[in-house]
Amino acid sequence: MKLILSDRPLDLTVKNPDQIKVIDLSALKIHNCVGCFGCWTKTPGRCVIRDDAVTVYPLIAQSDSVIYVSRIKYGGYDSIMKTMLERAIPVQQAFIHLVDGECHHVQRAVAPKQAVIIGYGASGPKEQALFRRLVERNARNMNFENFQVLFSSQEELESLVRKEAAKWDAS
């Protein structure tokens, strides 16, 4: 499965919607993670907050290719995407192992991913560089096998997403 996760509506039509899911997070109701660790210790693999996030993290887990589209704020994901990423920790176990010599959580059934992360709204090259470093860190925690970080203006965002998604059709 492939997944396009966006923090704003995108005018996209995908050829095979069974295999490519497009999710506009701004249309969903997703509460902040409260840091209770219930998804690791009480109901392993399930978040205790039963809102729309519980329909999204299983798709994140299943997808072997993802495109994440997010506004950038202070060099990181802005609130809509960040809220979802925080709520996605049920896909990991509490238990820790080493990845490239560093501590990280063991993943549950999470497909290794080809990830394209598209950020828009960065103030300049320094903010872009920080965002890139963030995605490098995420790669280890989110099972990205390969990743690419792309930057876009808001105007060119849709055409860039289309272009990246078209590469899936071609492959």
Binding site: C33, G35, F37, T41, G76, S79, Q93, C103, L130, N138
Partner: protein
């Protein structure tokens, strides 16, 4: 002498490690303390203007700032006080490597640069979920003391600490910690290790 306000940006502030770290800070020097909630942003933004130093105490969340803090900083950007205090960072992360906190620290530094706030001291704590309940508590307390002094004296500097354990031992200790955590809810280690997501 300056005045220091500690703001707790943990999503579970009342029961957080950040609160315990803030408590150790206040054992070393006088500071006021408040917790960021969804509804008190504007009140806290105004309050920051009464202080010379603002200490943001928060956990690392998905390699970045928890949304609780991110949203607060966005309000602070929109509604800054007339006099801006210097911003220092007291961050902790679950993993052993304190360096995993760097990106989040840089995000606060970028907030400061973009909005004309001075950036002060930093304390990065690794193994922050556990360290206070281990024999290495003194290391955290010692670092917080140095960090607090640097803020108080306005001699801003960067500090870090973690548990001086080989990684293999940290992995074992953390497995035991989480296994005990599960037991409280009658969940076995095997159940916690399920590979299933959203399926029962």
């Amino acid at each position: 002498m300056g005045r220091i306000l500690i703001l707790n940006g943990s999503p579970r502030a009342p029961k957080s490690n950040s609160k315990r770290y803030a408590g150790l800070f206040m054992d070393c020097c006088k500071a006021d303390y408040a917790e960021i909630t969804k509804t008190n942003h504007r009140e806290l933004c105004a309050r920051t203007g009464e202080y010379t130093d603002l200490v943001l105490a928060f956990p690392l969340y998905a390699d970045g700032l928890p949304v609780t803090l991110l949203d607060f900083l966005k309000t602070l950007e929109a509604e800054p006080p007339q006099q801006k205090p210097t911003v220092s960072v007291l961050i902790n992360c679950g993993f052993l490597e304190y360096a995993q906190n760097h990106t989040a620290v840089e995000m606060v530094a970028l907030f400061c640069r973009q909005n004309g706030w001075s950036f002060g001291s930093v304390l990065e704590i690794g193994g922050g979920e556990a360290i206070l309940d281990t024999p290495f508590r003194f290391l955290a307390a010692g670092s917080i003391k140095k960090f607090a002094r640097s803020v108080e004296k306005k001699r801003y500097a960067r500090f870090h600490t973690t548990m001086p354990l080989p990684k293999s031992m940290f992995l074992k200790a953390s497995a035991a910690y989480w296994t005990e955590y599960g037991k409280k809810y009658n969940i076995s280690k095997e159940e916690m290790q399920t590979m299933q997501i959203e399926q029962t």
